[in-house]
Amino acid sequence: MNTSDLLILCAAGMLVTGYLMVGQKALFTTIRLFGIQSLLLGVVAATIAVTESRHELFLTAGITVAMKAVLIPWFLMRIIDRIGINREIEPFLNVPVSLLVCLGLTVVGYRVSTGFPEGAQGVRHHLIGVALSMLLIGMFLMVTRKKAITQILALLTVENAVFLVAVGVTPGMPLVVELGVAFDVIVAVLVLGVLVQRLVARFESMDVSRLSQLKG
């Protein structure tokens, strides 16, 4: 099995995790799924680093895995544990419908990805297709999930998609930028976490859909 197959496999795997997150009802599982997704992203980065001998991508891979596959999931789980809310996810849409919508979004993502210079074949195409689909799926998750934590996860999925594009399509982002971005992401997640705790402290719930006092 050559590297390109591996890449496609990982990408597909990421997409699958995305779908599973959509179908999943248990909070912890969703977090773990996100972890797996990030791990796969790391693998993709590493593989590209090997094949195209772009060594700075190793660093990317490392950061991704360390942060998104380990640190953030742990952090989120810790929050959940501390505030001990029920671990069920109650989405606005039921699972089948959501899956159908995600299917549509995937189609859109793949269609659009055909416009890239590589056209409708090759690894890049799949990477971009997966990335764009995950982007849209992530947003869809943000729309349909009520819990704050799930929204954070969805947001992170979106960022994973962005990273996938970054490693997949670009000849490597400049290192400084990469580091800055990574740092920003982690800070953003921390801030989100802090906010979640303050929210829960005030509203005894993580249900974002209850935050609707500000109208008009």
Partner: protein
């Protein structure tokens, strides 16, 4: 002052004077009297300057123009130009503004809260300055600048007593309506300037800029914009609310001069700025003008609030101006320069005459309101004894607005009639019939106006006082009487020697494209220079005849042997009291009944009986006119807008998920767009 120097710096100097006056006024705000004198004095000074400029332009016939101010940031230049047309309106403005300012010196002292004097004084200045700039603006931005400024200043003056809900509402209504109008103007002007590739009036209003449908559309925009200001029905609803709400002297200015800003626009742009008018334009103007005239006077007739009544009669007169202009436009369409000239002259003359007598009447109303502390006709009565001079001047004003001969009101109506008849005479085909029709309606208007002002004068100044307030009414100080005297005198003067006015108009008419001023007028008289020697009038000469008649009457009636006996009026057995007098609403009752279709009055009578239904304790009667336009046009409009706005609330219902949904939708949409296009 040297004429040339005057022409060069007159307008800017006036503006500077006003600005300085405003600044000083605001600085002296704490010292009420001082600030009042500074503000009004400055205003008088500036008005004198502008009038001087205007008159020198009218005499010279050549326009005075220059650059007022260049906005460094946007590179926009605000330039002015006193064309003969502007000069005419400027002169009218000054003619009213100066007496009004003098009047206000005394009036503000009594009727404006000391804390607000400085504010009102400066707003007064800003408003007048803005109107002057509107008349003299010679490029788009300048015009819109002045126009908007005028609106804002007027609105603040209307809202002077903002504690009353009515005046707040009036100010808001005025602001909104005229702002919508301004929007229309903005659109029209910008389209025009884009087409002309220049923002200066001379090139934009050359008349050859637009063609076909765009031209008609632009005309419509301009017409809407200016009609709102001029108070043409059905865009008049703000006027009867706003004019009475302001301090009386300001109301005088608004009613007599501010509406002419709209008329000026109609002249400058709609009639003479867009090329030879299309048939529809003239018809629109004359039709709506006629409607305004009738509606205005009919509504005025039923009012019991003096200032509201005057405001409605303003609508009537605006209608007459529009009628004349419309006739002129129709004549231009059929290319009858002589007729067009005549009609335009009629309209312009009416601008002046109306300004004079309406100003007079509002000042008189101000004195009455100050003297009695109320605006309700039913509270007045017998004021002639307490305020003889105000009464006399008010009578002159009333007779003049009723279009009675020997007073100026008669002249412009006479001219309008001439124009209409000549129009019928010269236009071929079926469309000519609208001339005699509007003529008949004009006649109806003036007769109704006569009835209306018989009522106003009779009910408020004659017979017994109807309230203690009227019984204790006091005459105004000289400073307030002198301006009224001046205006009354000019009513008579202009009525007796209309030739002066028409001579003044000759250069204006000469300056307007498509007109052909011939020997329209001769000393002391008017004369039709038309294919057929239609008619002419020499009021002074007839005045002598009337004098003779009076003399005869005097001779006949003074030769009585016995002295004159004074007896109380027979009160039908009971003793005569104010309660048995004929009331204002009773006076207009027959006409209300006749014109039910328009007024749609609602009346409810309830009889309160104690012992048995046959012994009535008291009878309560109330009747009111249906505010047709408010109820059937503007109400629904407002409700619709607010309904839409409320409907859109759901977009911002506080659901984060929805918000993210918008972004998702946009993202997907744009992605697909890109994919399709690339």
């Amino acid at each position: 002052m040297n004429a040339f120097l005057l022409m060069d710096v007159g307008v800017p100097a006036a503006v500077v004077i006003r600005l300085v006056a405003v600044a000083v006024t605001l600085v002296l705000a704490r010292r009420v009297t001082a600030s009042r004198y500074v503000a009004l004095g400055g205003s008088i000074l500036a008005s004198i300057l502008t009038v001087a400029v205007a008159i020198s332009v009218l005499i010279g016939g050549s326009s005075a123009d220059g650059l007022l101010f260049r906005h460094s940031a946007s590179g926009i230049a605000l330039s002015y130009s006193v064309t003969p047309l502007s000069a005419w309106f400027l002169m009218v403005l000054g003619l009213i503004a100066i007496p009004t300012a003098i009047y206000s010196m005394a009036y503000f002292a009594h009727s404006v809260a000391p804390a607000r004097t400085a504010f009102v004084g400066s707003a007064f200045n800003v408003m007048l300055g803005a109107v002057e700039l509107v008349f003299t603006a010679s490029d788009v931005i300048m015009f819109l600048f002045a126009w908007e400024l005028m609106t804002l200043a007027t609105a603040t003056l209307v809202a002077t007593e903002h504690e009353q809900r009515t005046s707040r509402r009036a100010a808001y209504l005025y602001l909104v309506m005229s702002h919508v109008g301004t929007g229309c103007l903005l659109g029209g002007f910008l389209v025009l300037s884009a087409a002309a590739g220049s923002a200066s009036f001379p090139s934009m209003l050359a008349g050859n800029v637009l063609h076909g449908l765009t031209r008609d559309g632009v005309f419509l925009l301009f017409f809407l914009g200016f009609a709102v200001k001029a108070g043409i029905v059905p865009f008049h609803v703000w006027l009867p609310e706003a004019h009475p709400a302001a301090p009386s002297s300001v109301s005088a200015l608004m009613s007599s001069v501010l509406i002419t800003a709209g008329v000026y626009g109609l002249f400058r742009v709609c009639a003479f700025g867009l090329g030879v008018p299309a048939l529809g334009w003239g018809l629109t103007l004359s039709a709506l003008g006629t409607v305004s005239a009738i509606m205005g006077v009919l509504y005025a007739l039923t009012q019991t609030d003096l200032k509201r009544l005057l405001a409605y009669s303003t609508i009537e007169n605006a209608g007459i101006m529009a009628l004349g202009l419309g006739a002129s436009m129709l004549a231009m369409t059929d290319s009858h320069p002589a007729l067009a000239t005549l009609a335009a002259a009629a309209s312009l003359a009416h601008v002046l005459n109306h300004a004079v007598f309406k100003g007079l009447l509002f000042l008189g109303a101000g004195s009455v309101v100050m003297g009695t502390g109320t605006r309700q006709l039913e509270q007045f009565g017998g004021l002639l004894r307490r305020m003889p001079w105000t009464g006399l001047f008010f009578l002159v004003g009333s007779m003049s607005i009723a279009g009675l001969p020997l007073l100026n009101g008669f002249i412009s109506e006479w001219l309008t009639f001439q124009a209409l008849l000549l129009g019928f005479h010269t236009t071929p085909g079926f469309s000519r019939l609208n001339y005699p029709l509007s003529g008949a309606l004009l006649a109806l208007t003036s007769a109704l106006a006569a009835a209306c002002f018989v009522k106003v004068f009779g009910i408020s100044f004659l017979a017994l006082p109807r309230s203690p307030a009227a019984a204790e009414a006091h005459e105004s100080p000289r400073a307030m009487l002198a301006p009224q005297a001046f205006l009354a005198a000019s009513c008579v003067g202009l009525g007796l020697f209309p030739g002066v006015v028409l001579n003044g108009l000759s250069s204006v008419l000469a300056s307007l494209p498509g007109l052909q001023p011939s020997s329209l007028m001769s000393w002391g008289g008017l004369e039709m220079a038309s294919p057929s020697q239609f008619d002419h009038v020499i009021p002074a000469m007839f005045g002598m005849a009337l004098l003779g008649g009076l003399l005869a009457a005097g001779l006949l009636s003074t030769r009585t042997r016995f002295a004159i006996r004074r007896e109380p009026t027979w009160g039908c057995g009971g003793e005569l009291s104010a309660r048995t007098e004929y009331t204002a609403s009773a006076f207009s009752k027959p006409l209300v009944m006749v014109f039910q279709a328009i007024y749609r009055p609602t009346r409810q009578v309830e009889t309160l009986a104690q012992v048995s239904p046959y012994f009535t304790q008291e009878v309560r009667y109330r009747s009111e006119m249906e505010p047709t336009f408010e109820r059937y046009v503007y109400g629904p409009l407002l409700r619709a807008v607010l309904g839409v706005a409320n409907g859109m609330k759901v977009l911002q219902a506080g659901s984060l998920h929805a918000y993210i949904g918008y972004v998702l939708a946009l993202a997907v949409g744009l992605m697909l767009l890109v994919w399709w296009r690339g």
